[in-house]
Structure formats: structure tokens, C-alpha cells
């Protein structure tokens, strides 16, 4: 008996050791199977999609740098254009057009956006399952789905702008768009299956974007409590994004239709949905970026969760890290009037490297980095509307009113304000609207999307030096002096224009599909952008 007991003891000791040694539970993460098992987790997972929009991981070092929407969309959009000026060589890749298939900026933009999209697809499925299982209500599931589908549309459109030729490049937009996936992918089998899809056409991509936005519009609430009104998707945000999307498609009637949903018939323009209105001064949406009437959708940043000092706008666009200043090309532009309040409120002069340069003052928190990143503002909706109105109906009072709504809060001298009589023809009005966009959205990353969408516009395309649609030549920091700035003079010193732009036929016009995609996806390897 004693012997048996001691053997049993020995055996028990052995098994308890094995259990303690190897039957271990993961404590730092929730397994997929229970990620949607409570209403709270469903909500957390929705927030997780916004996080993916705000701060994806940079390839190579897995640090957060604000890809795609936390900061990168602004920086890349500005650096492809000519109005913001790259100061530091290590950040010059996009500005100079030196990128290759292996350049981290394009790679991160692509990868982080798709990281977000798959998270969204996973959440959509998770919410639907949770509703079926009675964890959350059907309404809650649909509301959550609408929120993340707004983000998916935003992401797909961003990809189109950087990685595909514009809508108008082929008659039916039948050229390559971007891969579109709406199913969650989390296993090897699903990866193998999804690999077969390849790139959708631009038309198909836009179709998905509009599907998502229509769903979002129908199902999202008009407003939310506190700052969530701006940092989370709303019905108004979905409509506002549609005005932008239709604008890129050149569908002006639809731009007007959508705009009318959120723009009152007469000035002062306000929105029946979400009560959006321009702030009294141009700096309103920036000075008070977490709470104002004009911001329709912004990406939330906080002191502890932001694009970090390796990405945040308040560090990059000012002399905290001095990476990007405002170019004399726009500072000196004659169309940007000297007394325009945006010069006083949204620019700052500060010396760097012996040059007293102009810097954007839209992102003001310096080392704290918690400015929210503007994605959609009411001012954009009004200018989108103004452009569509002008293109459709010519020099109308409505078009001029919409333009003036944005312009006159900055140009307060009545003598300098526009009336219909200011425009000899629609081209003059269109020029004014497009120039107004350059001023109003300076340092918000809208310049490249505008250059891109206008590429095939016979009248209003931005031109490179050779006269073809493209990216104009830019200023070079290395040739700059303080005197290069001569605000509103209408003259830019030719000696500082040393960074060559290129036309739309150059392979660099759009980013190449990154090498990481090409090497792992044979189908897309055959669908690389031309010249790469």
C-alpha cells in the first residue's frame, strides 16, 4: 500500500510539473473566438479600426508614424505637390520623386491602409455574428458596420489617389484601380483564395467606395456626443466624402446632389445634417480642432497616442523638427492676397538654418502632438459644391456665394471680395475656386489629390514644365534664402526652383505598387503600374 501511494505521489508530481510547465494561457491578448463576445468588445473592435486609420505600423521598424490618416495622408499629399517645401533631405523622397518600389513611404501607405481594411472586414463579420448570437442588437451591428464602412471607403479612395491613374484616364475607368476585398482574411486558406483577385478596375473600386458610403449615409447617426462628433463617422461625414469622391469621378451632378444634403440653399451656409457651419475665422477648425462646427471628420490624436515625433504634423510642419515649411511658390502667389487672414492666423515665421521661413500654423501642439488631423472640413464641401456648380451652370450667384463663404472670412476687405462681376467667364471662376483650394487647404494634404483628379481635365489641369499635365517644378530648400519669400508679390525667384517636377506620363506620377506586394502576389505582380 505504502509503495502504491508513493508511486501515485510520484506520478502526480510528474503530471503537475508538466501542467505547470507547458499548459499556458496567453495573457496579453484576446483570442479571435471571443473578440466579439460582449457588447463592450464589439465597441472596442470598432475603435480598433479607427486606430488602424490613425497609426499603422511603419514597415521595417514597426513604429507608429501616422499611416495612413493620422499624418501621412497630409504629408504625402503635400509632398507630391509644390506648395509645401521639403526642408530635410531624409524626408525628400516623395518631394523629389526619388521613390522606388522599395521606398518605405509608399509601402507604408499601401500596407497600413490595407491593414485597416482587413480589420474593418473582420469587424463587419464579427458584428453580424454578434447580432445573430444576440450579443448586440441588429441596430448596433448596423451602426457599427456603417462606421467602419465609411473608413473603408476613405481608405480605398486614398489608395486610388496614390496608386492608380485618375478616373478619367480611360473612358469607362476600366484601367487598374486597387485590390478590393470585403471579406475578412485570417487564415492561410483565405489568403490563398484572396490572392486570386488581383486589382479591381478604377470603376469597380469607385463602385465599392460608393456602396460603402451609401450604406454609411443611410445608417449613421447625424451627430455624436462631444468630440466623437468629429473623431467618429457620422451621416454628414459620409455625405461630405461623397462630394469628394464624385468630384474625383468628374460627376458634377452627383456632387451637387450630395452637397445639397448638407448645404443650406442660401448663405450663410449650414448643414441640416449635423449642423455644420464654417467657423467665424479661418483658424477656427485648427485652434479648436477637437470641438468646432466646421470639422466634419478628423483623426483623433492624444498626447499619448499620436503619430509620434517621427510622424506628427505639429513636429514636422513646424520648427520642432523642421521637416516641411511653406514654399515661396504659394507664399509669393499674387492670388493669395497680402491681408488674407489666413496668412496672419495660419502661418508663422520662424528661422531655421539661417532662413526666416514660413511654416504652417495649423498644427500647434508642438511636442505634445495631439492636434487632430483634418480629413473632411465643411469648407471643402462648399468649395466642392462651388466647383460643381460652376462647371455645370457657369458663373452663377450660387457658385460665387459658395466660394465667397470660404474666402470672405479671410478676405475681409469688401473691396477685394468677389462678386459675379469679378469673373469674365467660367474659366476665371474655376481658376479662382481652384486657387482658393490651394490657399484654404494648404498643409492639409489636398494638393496632390487635386493635381491627380485634374490630370485629364483639358482646361484646368496642373501643368509640369513641359506644358503637359503633371507636377510643376518645385523650390529647393538648398537654394533658398529669407529673401526668397516675398508675400503676394506674384514673383517667385527662378533660382530657387531646382526640384524638377514631371508630367503624368512619367512612371513616378503615381506610386508603384510596393515590392512587398509584388513579391508575394503573383497576380498583382503582372498588374504593376506602367514603367515599374
Amino acid at each position: 500500500m505504502k509503495k502504491i501511494l508513493s508511486i501515485l505521489f510520484g506520478v502526480a508530481l510528474f503530471f503537475s510539473c508538466t501542467d505547470q510547465a507547458i499548459n499556458l494561457e496567453q495573457k496579453d491578448a484576446i483570442t479571435y473566438g471571443v473578440a466579439f463576445s460582449t457588447p463592450e468588445r464589439c465597441e472596442l473592435a470598432i475603435v480598433g479600426c479607427y486606430d488602424a486609420a490613425q497609426s499603422g505600423y511603419y514597415p521595417g521598424n514597426n513604429q507608429r508614424r501616422g499611416y495612413p490618416f493620422g499624418a501621412a495622408t497630409v504629408q504625402q499629399g503635400d509632398m507630391k505637390g509644390e506648395n509645401m517645401l521639403n526642408v530635410q533631405q531624409f524626408f525628400a523622397v516623395t518631394y523629389n520623386g526619388d521613390y522606388t518600389v522599395a521606398s518605405p513611404n509608399g509601402q507604408a501607405h499601401w500596407e497600413c491602409t490595407y491593414q485597416m481594411i482587413n480589420k474593418i472586414n473582420i469587424v463587419i463579420e464579427g458584428l453580424r455574428t454578434a447580432a445573430e448570437n444576440g450579443v448586440i442588437t441588429q441596430e448596433k451591428a448596423i451602426d457599427g458596420e456603417a462606421e467602419v464602412r465609411f473608413l473603408r471607403a476613405l481608405g480605398l479612395h486614398e489608395l486610388l489617389v496614390f496608386f492608380a491613374l485618375p478616373y478619367a484616364a480611360t473612358p469607362n475607368a476600366s484601367h487598374y484601380g486597387v485590390p478590393v476585398s470585403t471579406v475578412p482574411i485570417n487564415t492561410i486558406d483565405k489568403v490563398e483564395e484572396a490572392k486570386e483577385a488581383g486589382r479591381a478596375t478604377v470603376e469597380e473600386t469607385y463602385k465599392q467606395i460608393l456602396d460603402d458610403l451609401n450604406f454609411a449615409e443611410q445608417n449613421l447617426a447625424a451627430t455624436r456626443a462631444g468630440g466623437l462628433k468629429i473623431s467618429r463617422a457620422t451621416k454628414g461625414a459620409a455625405v461630405a466624402l461623397k462630394t469628394r469622391v464624385y468630384q474625383h469621378m468628374g460627376k458634377w451632378t452627383e456632387v451637387i446632389t450630395e452637397s445639397n444634403k448638407i448645404v443650406s440653399p442660401t448663405a450663410p451656409f449650414t448643414s441640416p445634417i449635423g449642423a455644420y457651419a464654417l467657423t467665424a475665422t479661418p483658424e477656427g477648425p485648427f485652434a479648436n480642432n477637437k470641438s468646432n462646427t466646421e470639422s466634419i471628420f478628423s483623426i483623433e490624436n492624444s498626447a499619448l497616442d499620436n503619430a509620434t515625433n517621427n510622424g506628427s504634423l505639429s513636429q514636422f510642419y513646424f520648427t520642432v523638427r523642421s521637416l516641411v515649411c511653406v514654399s515661396p511658390i504659394i507664399i509669393n502667389a499674387g492670388f493669395w492676397l497680402k491681408d488674407d487672414l489666413r496668412r496672419a492666423q495660419l502661418l508663422k515665421r520662424a528661422e531655421y538654418g539661417g532662413i526666416n521661413a514660413f511654416w504652417s500654423w495649423k498644427y500647434r501642439t508642438g511636442t505634445v502632438m495631439n492636434d487632430w488631423t483634418p480629413i473632411l472640413r465643411y469648407a471643402e464641401v462648399l468649395l466642392n459644391y462651388a466647383e460643381a456648380e460652376a462647371r455645370k451652370n457657369g458663373v452663377t450667384q450660387k457658385a460665387v456665394d459658395l466660394l465667397n463663404a470660404v474666402r470672405n472670412r479671410a478676405v475681409t476687405d469688401h473691396a477685394l471680395q468677389f462678386t459675379t462681376a469679378s469673373f469674365a467667364n467660367v474659366d476665371a471662376l474655376m481658376t479662382a475656386i481652384l486657387q482658393e483650394r490651394e490657399i484654404e487647404f494648404l498643409a492639409e494634404g489636398r494638393r496632390w489629390p487635386d493635381i491627380h483628379r485634374l490630370t485629364y481635365d483639358s482646361k484646368y489641369a496642373v501643368k509640369s514644365k513641359d506644358g503637359k499635365s503633371g507636377i510643376p517644378d518645385k523650390a529647393s530648400w538648398g537654394s533658398m534664402k529669407t529673401e526668397s519669400y516675398n508675400p503676394a508679390s506674384g514673383v517667385v525667384d527662378a533660382n530657387i526652383i531646382k526640384t524638377a517636377g514631371f508630367n503624368f506620363e512619367d512612371r513616378r506620377y503615381i506610386f508603384p505598387i510596393p515590392l512587398s506586394e509584388i513579391t508575394s502576389n503573383p497576380k498583382i505582380a503582372e498588374q504593376q503600374n506602367a514603367g515599374w
Partner: protein, 1008 residues
């Protein structure tokens, strides 16, 4: 009556140490004498007689009578029970049938380096030890017989006194912590490096990268002994880059601007300031080490205790390593010697500081110091900091007389190194306790518990006045990390002989578990720079915290049996069953096995009776095969599909974080090894030869998924791919000269290794290397450079079809190169990925070492060479130092193309401000930077002097030795970088790495 001769002589062992009490007998008589304390003897013998010199454990020698007779007695391996430590036990060296390299602790302890690991380089065949730089806190990379895996760890398993321990770099943020540098080299008795399957199979799922067994010292029979070992040395950079001086910099910087249509920006100041920044960033580091030990043993009890301290200042002015160690081991036999209880404890404290490292980080000491403007001074008494910092741009170095500040806001690196701090302190204890029960002489049961507890306090402090801390208004990040491992082993072993049949068997049950915890606190936006030193409540605005936890474990059941017939025929094998926590429950258990066989041909009668025995005194053929595993995956729960916490601003969230693969298994490795061991001239020389082959399959690979599918991190770990490695090893050693008080002992080893990626999912490209089927591991890869277009200074490249294109610097576009009209830019072309080619093998294909010790009377001389080659290196630092921004450059840039009549060296294109990315293809590999990695290194040169016994006894000590030593004295190589072994990203990619140390030291060993 024959003539009598007065004979005087000395008897020493193979190491030249005098043998006390050796017997000298006149052959055929009973007359003779014994040697005294100095190994000397004298006697009178007939002139024609023969002397028989003998000592227990050594081979008896006969010598003819002469006035002076000096005898070296060699160890008798047949008699001497020389022991080799193997997994879970020991074996007689003579009966080991597997590939095990042994290194004596004393061979490494006297050398100046933070850990013993650096000194292992070149001392054992098949073992590659590469120190990536001279940073005294950085662990070297140890590779045993090739690289067989991609995403998992390549490091061997380290086992100290039977207990597996944490190894590698356990520093958390910016400072390194070499876990194995916690062990004082002076406390180590021996290293056994298990290389082939027969030796490693007993470690089953942990065996694939080889196993290093470390045995610490224990007391030796006799009265208490006290020793004091010490050295002090001075280390300086073996080599630094040649940078432009101030005048050259001004010329080059302005040429960059004028070529691009800009205005000159660089100027000499009135004082003619010409700063060599390396003089301020690097130094001669003083290093010293002290160990005191007390040890002894009676038949029942043995004990060994030691305390050690070392302080090593590195080359970079803020790089240092301090270690305090305490080691104790005691064992006592009781209950009529049936039972032995043993205890050991290794306790240590390591304090490390160092620069920020990051190939591309502007505060990296190498990146920054190589770019600092030479026409700008380091200090400026007018600046509040006393350093020369730009008054407007507080991040950057001041501009001096230049019109602009340095490119990319690079900070004054001397300010950075003297103010910012990256530091960690670790506290480590390695306790073991065992009880051995030996009911009969051939059977033993041992129960062993061991632990490895490592506590790290890791911090970085960035001051707000400039540099990286400026963007945070001061930053502290402090992490507390706890690593705990426990291990419990029960071993039953039997060892019995039946006549000439010898049998041993071992059964083991072992469990081990590891838990990792980290807690981090951070602070930013300090109210006053005064407080930016420690985290003090209410002195800062933004606070953060974070942490993580993970765990893993292993349960193992092991059986091993060996049989030999009269030490002539051998056969043995082992089998191990492992349960691995890192794998899903359903496929957690695996079986691993190995077997070996050998025959000692020299033990057969025909050989023993033949005269060949006088030449080849031992000859044994051996072979082994094993199938083992690698369970060291890059994560502990890679089978789980998980959501992890993610924040969106101030909103809490979770997000899909890892696509788990429940089917994941351990990596498989099949190892084949065969070779022979031979000894010559009565064991005076020995030779070991082995051929090995390792086939790794089911490699745990982070298989890249198309990024457009959005799988987290764009990978799913899968068992995918196959890598084959093979090589030969040769070790040859012995006493070349052993007479007249002069002994020359030599040891030479040579190894080859070839690796080949046999199957892989698809190309996995990196900036400078690629994983590709059919190529070697991490093959260097990039565009083929075709030199400079002598007409216009444009860089040129080969397309895949062999045609040449030029990259036009002016508009950054590519054009077909027309040799008959080099200026022709009419036909557009492009560089595309397809044009890239494999540019070389990044891993050495041959390496080895040659060690020589000459003992002459009381002097000993040592010279040790190492060599390695067959590989190429991507010298990316060169590319960085040809940058086209406003920074300093290497002198290579002086060879640039200036004009058709002054076209330079044909390698460096025309300068053009801001076009570095295009001119040098930043971000992509290029043959322009590929260089041969072959080298021969004079690693060690030393002279020692042993005080004569007589003098020692007058000084009341037993033994005194003093020595002087030089390390890393010369490197013979065509490689133009700092050191052919230096690397940063992966071996073979040298990108802003720190220089290697060259050390001179004096040492002292005293035994009381």
C-alpha cells in the same frame, strides 16, 4: 666499472609546467630520484644507461643518459580518465563518439573582453563567433555549423551546470545587455560545444542550433587555495574612417551646391577651425578586472567561492560595462558517501551604458560623428549648454561660419553623448541545488533544481536642450523587466561493465518554464531640465505607462544508452520526447532521436601489433545521425489568432493583431556527421576531421502574405521551406617542439560551411539582401553598377540584358547609354527590380584559427591568428558617407567626377546637392558597395612570465604569473570598412557600425 655521468634535468608536462615528484629511474636498476619543486633533478648514472621518467597519469618516457636531460611527459589518455561534459552527464573523453569541441575556461579568462563569448572566436572548428562591433555591451553572434532557419532564433542553447539559461541581448530599449556576460570567465572550468546530432539529440526540440555546455569551477582535492587574477588594459579603436578635413569639406560641400545651381554654403571661419569629431567621440578606454577565489576539497566536501569585478570603458565616450559577480559552489558527501548534496549560486550585477544605435538614427554615435561639420567647433562657451548648438535650431549642431546648418537636424553628437543616457542595470541569480543518491557504485539518481532570475532596470533619458529630447521637452523612459525560469530534472543513470562490455544508460524527466514581465513608465514635457534625470512625481506633464507579459515552457522525457566493446566498437543512441508550450495542444508533443557508431581501428590487434602504432597511436572512425528540432519561435503563442489592445487617441480599442496558425510545428533538422579522430607519435599530435550535413525542413517561416490582404504584419508563420547546410571541420594540434626546456604547442582549426535555401515560398527581399530559392542564406542583392559616365559624371548601371543605362542626375531619369555618344540622352530607359542580381554570399564559407604557445623556461609566448572568408560585405556606410546633403563625407568623395577633363576615379559620380538618393541609389542594393570579406587577423599576442618556485616561496605564494597581451593587433584584408566582421543589420550588411577594439593589457595571476 663503466663511466659515470652527472645528469641534470627538468621534467615538465605538455604545457611546460614543471612536474614535482616525477620519478627518474636508471633502467634495469632500482636506483633513481624524484624531481623537486621546480621539476629539476640530478643524479649520477652510467654513461650507457637509459633513464625511465614516469609520473602518474602521464606516458612513461625513456631517455638516454646525457649531462642535461629535459623531458616532456605527455598525458596518457588511455589511463587518464579525462572527462567531457555531455548533456545530462559526463563521458570519458576517449569514449565520446560525437562531435564536441572543448575549450578550457583558463584559455579565455585572461583575455580582456566583457564576456567569454568574444574570445571563443577561432578556437573551435565549426563555431563562428562574430563580434558586430567594439561596443562592450553587445553580445557577439555565435553560429554553430551554419544557419538553418529564417524567422526563428539561430542562437545555440546555453546550459550552465546542467540548467538551460537565458542568453542573447536582453537589453530592452537602447542599451544592450549581454546575458552571458553575467558569468565571470574566471569562474568557468570548461566549455563543451555540442555540434553533431549524436551530441545534441538529447536536447531534442532545442538542439537545432547546437548546444554550449558551460561548467563552472569546483574545489580540487587539497588544502584551501586562494587565487587572485587581475588584468588592466587600454582599448582604442582599431580603425576609423578617413573623413574630409575642414578645407576639403568646404570644397566638396560647395561643389554640391554649385553643381546643382545653388550658392556656396560652406566657409572656413577666421580661426581656421578644423575639428576631427572622432577625437571627441572616441577614446582610449581603460578596462580592468579582478577576481579572488578560495577553494579546496576534502574527500567528503569540496567548495569554491569567488568574487569578481570588472569595469570596462568602451571606445565611444558613453559606452561602458561594469560587472560584479559572486559565485559559490559546494558539495558534500554524507550517509557513508551514498548521498551527495550540492549547491551553487551565481549572482551578478551588470551596469551598461551606451550610445543610441540605429543605422539611420540621427543620434547614432557613428552616423552623427561621421557627419559633423569639420569646420565647426565642438564647444561654444557662449551657448548656455557650453556646446556648439545652433541658437535658432536647438536640435542641430551650430553652423559656424557656414551659411546654413547641418542637414537633417543632426545634433552636436558630443552634447548628445555627454548628456543623454541609455543605461541598464541587471541583477541575475543562477542558483542550483542537487541531491545525488548512489545506492551502488554503478547506479546514480540525481534530482536537480535550478533557476535563472534576471531583473533589468532599463532606462533612457533624453535631455530637452537639444537632440532627440528636444521634440519631447525632455524624455525619460524606464522599464523594469523580470525574466524567471525554473528547471527541474530527475536523472537516473547506470554505468556498468561486464568484462570488456561497457554499458551506460541515462533516463531523464525534465520540466522548465519561463515567464517574462515588463513594466514601463515614461515621462515627457518636463517643467525644468533640472528634473530630467529620474522620474520624479509632478515634475512633468505627460506620463505614460505600458507593459507586457509572456511565458513558455517545456516538458521532456529522455532516454540514452551507449555501449562499447573494450573501447573499440561503439554504438549509442538517444530519444527525447518534448511537450512544447509554444505549439497548439494538438501538435505539442514531438519525438527526437539520434544515434552514433564508432570503431577504434587502432584498438584492433593487427594495429596494436603493427609498427604503425608508433606513428598513429589512436585512430577511430565515427558517424552519427539525428533528427532534432528548433522550438525557438519568434513568439510564444504563434498558434493563437488574437486581438490586442490598441488606442485611438483617447479611445480604448482592440484590433486583430496576429493571424495564428494552429498547425504550426517545430522546425525539423536532420543532421549527418562522420569523421575520424587520430593521434600520432604517442598522442603527441592529434587530428580531428568531420564532415557534416544539416538539412532543415518545415522551417518556421513568417511567410509573407500579400499586404493588400491586410493580415497583421503581413505574415503568417508556417512550416515552410528547406535549407541545407554542410561543411567540413579539421582540428590539428600537438607539440611541435618539446625539448631543452622549449615547448611549442600548436592548435589549428579550419572549417567550411555552405548554406543553400532549397525551397522557399517566394522571394523575400530586403534592402541589401534577399532570401531566394537556390541561393545562399541572405544573399546580397542589388543593381550592378557600371561606373561613372566620363562625359557627364552620371552613374551607370547594367540592365539585366547586359546593356548599360545612365542615370541623368540633372532630371533624375534614366537613359540608354550610347558608348559612341555618351552624352546622348535621347532614349529613355528605366531601372527596374528585374535588373537586380545576386551580388554575393553574405556568410563566410571558410574560417578558422591558429593558436601557438611557446614555453621557454619561465616565459610563455602566445600568438593567435584567426581567419575567415568566402563572403562578401555590403559596405553601406560608404554609401552614406557619399551623401549629397550638407554633411561631412569620407575622403572617397574626393574621387568624384568634376569635368570631362577631370573625371575623377570613375567610381564617384558628379556631386549634386540633394540628389544623394538618386546618385547612390539609397534604399536599394548596389554592387558599388559590395566588397570581399576575406581576412586574417592577429587576434592575440602575449608574453607571460612565471616567477621561479624559489622566489615564490620567498614571497609566501605558490604561484605568480605576470603577462602582457595585445588583442586585435592587425587585420589583413581588402575590406575598406572598419572591420570585415562588423555588421549592423544582419551579418554582411555593414551600416554605420561602431569600430572594433584594439586592446593592450597587463595581467597578474597569484596563487596562495
Amino acid at each position: 666499472m663503466t663511466a659515470q655521468t652527472q645528469v641534470r634535468g627538468t621534467v615538465v608536462d605538455e604545457a611546460g609546467v614543471p612536474i614535482i615528484g616525477a620519478t627518474i629511474q636508471i633502467k634495469g636498476t632500482t636506483q633513481g630520484t624524484v624531481t623537486n619543486l621546480d621539476g629539476n633533478f640530478s643524479l649520477v648514472a652510467p654513461a650507457e644507461a637509459t633513464l625511465v621518467v614516469s609520473f602518474v597519469g602521464l606516458i612513461t618516457q625513456e631517455v638516454a643518459v646525457a649531462p642535461t636531460v629535459n623531458v616532456v611527459l605527455m598525458p596518457d589518455t588511455e589511463l587518464l580518465e579525462e572527462i567531457v561534459v555531455v548533456g545530462y552527464g559526463t563521458q570519458r573523453k576517449r569514449d565520446v563518439t560525437s562531435s564536441i569541441s572543448q575549450i578550457r575556461g583558463e584559455d579565455l579568462a585572461s583575455k580582456a573582453s566583457p564576456s567569454f563569448m568574444q574570445q571563443m572566436a577561432g578556437r573551435a572548428s565549426g563555431v563562428q563567433v562574430i563580434a558586430p562591433s567594439g561596443d562592450v555591451t553587445q553580445p557577439p553572434r555565435v553560429i554553430i555549423r551554419g544557419v538553418g532557419t529564417i524567422s526563428s532564433s539561430n542562437a545555440p542553447l546555453y546550459v550552465i551546470n546542467g540548467v538551460p539559461v537565458t542568453s542573447g541581448n536582453v537589453g530592452y530599449s537602447y542599451s544592450n545587455n549581454n546575458a552571458l556576460a553575467d558569468i565571470n570567465p574566471s569562474d568557468i572550468e570548461s566549455f563543451e560545444i555540442l555540434k553533431d546530432g549524436a551530441a545534441t539529440a538529447i536536447y531534442g526540440s532545442r538542439a537545432a542550433n547546437g548546444v554550449v555546455l558551460i561548467t563552472t569551477k569546483q574545489g580540487k582535492q587539497g588544502a584551501a587555495k586562494i587565487t587572485y587574477d587581475s588584468w588592466m588594459g587600454w582599448s582604442s579603436a582599431a580603425k576609423l574612417y578617413d573623413l574630409l578635413n575642414a578645407e576639403q569639406f568646404v570644397t566638396i560641400a560647395n561643389e554640391k551646391y554649385t553643381n546643382s545651381g545653388g550658392n556656396p554654403q560652406a566657409k572656413m571661419d577666421d580661426k581656421g577651425t578644423d575639428t576631427n569629431w572622432y577625437d571627441y567621440v572616441f577614446r582610449t578606454g581603460f578596462q580592468h578586472s579582478h577576481t579572488v577565489s578560495i577553494s579546496g576539497a576534502s574527500p567528503q566536501t569540496q567548495y569554491f567561492m569567488s568574487a569578481g569585478y570588472t569595469d570596462q570603458k568602451g571606445l565611444s565616450i558613453n559606452n561602458s560595462y561594469n560587472r560584479y559577480t559572486f559565485y559559490a559552489k559546494a558539495e558534500h558527501k554524507f550517509l557513508r558517501d551514498y548521498v551527495t548534496a550540492g549547491f551553487s549560486l551565481n549572482a551578478s550585477n551588470q551596469v551598461n551604458t551606451g550610445p543610441v544605435k540605429g543605422t539611420n538614427s540621427i543620434s547614432d554615435n557613428m552616423y552623427a560623428s561621421s557627419r559633423m561639420l569639420p569646420n565647426v567647433a565642438v564647444y561654444n562657451p557662449d551657448d548656455p549648454t557650453g556646446f556648439n548648438i545652433d541658437p535658432n535650431d536647438r536640435k542641430s549642431l551650430a553652423k559656424g561660419a557656414n551659411l546654413r546648418t547641418i542637414e537633417n537636424t543632426i545634433p552636436n553628437i558630443v552634447w548628445v553623448l555627454k548628456n543623454n543616457r541609455q543605461k541598464n542595470s541587471s541583477y541575475r541569480i543562477l542558483p542550483t541545488a542537487n541531491i545525488d543518491i548512489r545506492p551502488v557504485s554503478w547506479l546514480m539518481f540525481r534530482s536537480l533544481v535550478g533557476a535563472d532570475v534576471n531583473l533589468i532596470d532599463d532606462s533612457y533619458v533624453w535631455m530637452p536642450e537639444s537632440g532627440d529630447g528636444f521634440g519631447y521637452k525632455g524624455l525619460i523612459n524606464r522599464s523594469s523587466i523580470k525574466r524567471q525560469r525554473w528547471n527541474f530534472q530527475n536523472i537516473l543513470s547506470a554505468n556498468k561493465s561486464f568484462g570488456l562490455h561497457n554499458l551506460d544508460a541515462t533516463a531523464v524527466a525534465e520540466w522548465t518554464n519561463y515567464v517574462y514581465n515588463r513594466f514601463t513608465a515614461g515621462a515627457r514635457d518636463f517643467s525644468d531640465p533640472f528634473f530630467v534625470d529620474e522620474i520624479i512625481s509632478d515634475t512633468y506633464v505627460t506620463q505614460s505607462s505600458g507593459g507586457s507579459v509572456t511565458t513558455n515552457g517545456l516538458a521532456s522525457y529522455i532516454f540514452r544508452a551507449n555501449y562499447n566493446y573494450n573501447s573499440i566498437f561503439y554504438i549509442g543512441g538517444s530519444v527525447r520526447r518534448d511537450g512544447i508550450s509554444n505549439l497548439h495542444k494538438d501538435n505539442r508533443w514531438g519525438t527526437f532521436y539520434g544515434g552514433s557508431a564508432a570503431v577504434r581501428i587502432s584498438g584492433l590487434d593487427f594495429w596494436k601489433n603493427s609498427s604503425i602504432n608508433d606513428i598513429v597511436s589512436d585512430f577511430r572512425l565515427r558517424g552519427s545521425f539525428a533528427e532534432v528540432g528548433n522550438d525557438r519561435l519568434s513568439g510564444d503563442f504563434m498558434y493563437n489568432d488574437i486581438f490586442a489592445g490598441q488606442k485611438y487617441g483617447d479611445q480604448a480599442g482592440i484590433a486583430y493583431y496576429q493571424a495564428g496558425n494552429p498547425a504550426l510545428k517545430w522546425e525539423k533538422q536532420k543532421i549527418l556527421d562522420f569523421g575520424f579522430d587520430a593521434a600520432f607519435l604517442h598522442n603527441r599530435f592529434n587530428l580531428v576531421f568531420a564532415y557534416w550535413q544539416k538539412d532543415n525542413s518545415d522551417i518556421v517561416l513568417d511567410v509573407p502574405t500579400p499586404p493588400s490582404l491586410g493580415i497583421p504584419w503581413n505574415v503568417i508563420a508556417q512550416n515552410y521551406g528547406k535549407i541545407n547546410n554542410n561543411g567540413i571541420e579539421l582540428e590539428l594540434g600537438g607539440n611541435i617542439i618539446q625539448n631543452k626546456g622549449l615547448i611549442w604547442k600548436t592548435a589549428f582549426n579550419f572549417s567550411t560551411q555552405q548554406s543553400k535555401v532549397v525551397t522557399l515560398v517566394n522571394d523575400i527581399p530586403y534592402e541589401h539582401y534577399i532570401l531566394r530559392e537556390g541561393e545562399s542564406m541572405n544573399a546580397l542583392w542589388g543593381y550592378r553598377y557600371a561606373g561613372v559616365n566620363m562625359k557627364n559624371g552620371n552613374p551607370m548601371y547594367y540592365k539585366k540584358d547586359g546593356s548599360i543605362i545612365q542615370g541623368n542626375i540633372a532630371n533624375t531619369k534614366y537613359y540608354v547609354y550610347n558608348p559612341s555618344d555618351p552624352a546622348d540622352l535621347s532614349k529613355a530607359s528605366n531601372l527596374v527590380q528585374d535588373d537586380k542580381e545576386i551580388l554575393g554570399n553574405s556568410l563566410p564559407t571558410w574560417f578558422g584559427g591558429w593558436d601557438n604557445t611557446v614555453t621557454l623556461k619561465n616565459f610563455d609566448f602566445n600568438i593567435f591568428f584567426r581567419f575567415s572568408g568566402g563572403n562578401k560585405i555590403a559596405n553601406v556606410t560608404r554609401r552614406d558617407m557619399l551623401d549629397q546633403g550638407f554633411t561631412n563625407s569620407s575622403t572617397e568623395i574626393l574621387g568624384r567626377w568634376q569635368s570631362e577633363s577631370n573625371p575623377g576615379d570613375g567610381n564617384v559620380p558628379k556631386l549634386y546637392y540633394g540628389r544623394g538618393g538618386f546618385i547612390n541609389l539609397t534604399g536599394e542594393g548596389s554592387s558599388r558597395w559590395i566588397e570581399s570579406g576575406d581576412f586574417l587577423k592577429l587576434q592575440n599576442l602575449s608574453v607571460g612570465y612565471n616567477f621561479p618556485k624559489g622566489l615564490c616561496s620567498q614571497l609566501w605564494v605558490e604561484k605568480v604569473r605576470i603577462y602582457v597581451q595585445g588583442q586585435n593587433l592587425a587585420t589583413f584584408t581588402k575590406y575598406s570598412g572598419l572591420d570585415p566582421e562588423g555588421y549592423t543589420v544582419v551579418p554582411g550588411v555593414d551600416w554605420n557600425g561602431n569600430p572594433q577594439q584594439r586592446t593592450f593589457l597587463i595581467g597578474l595571476n597569484i596563487g596562495f
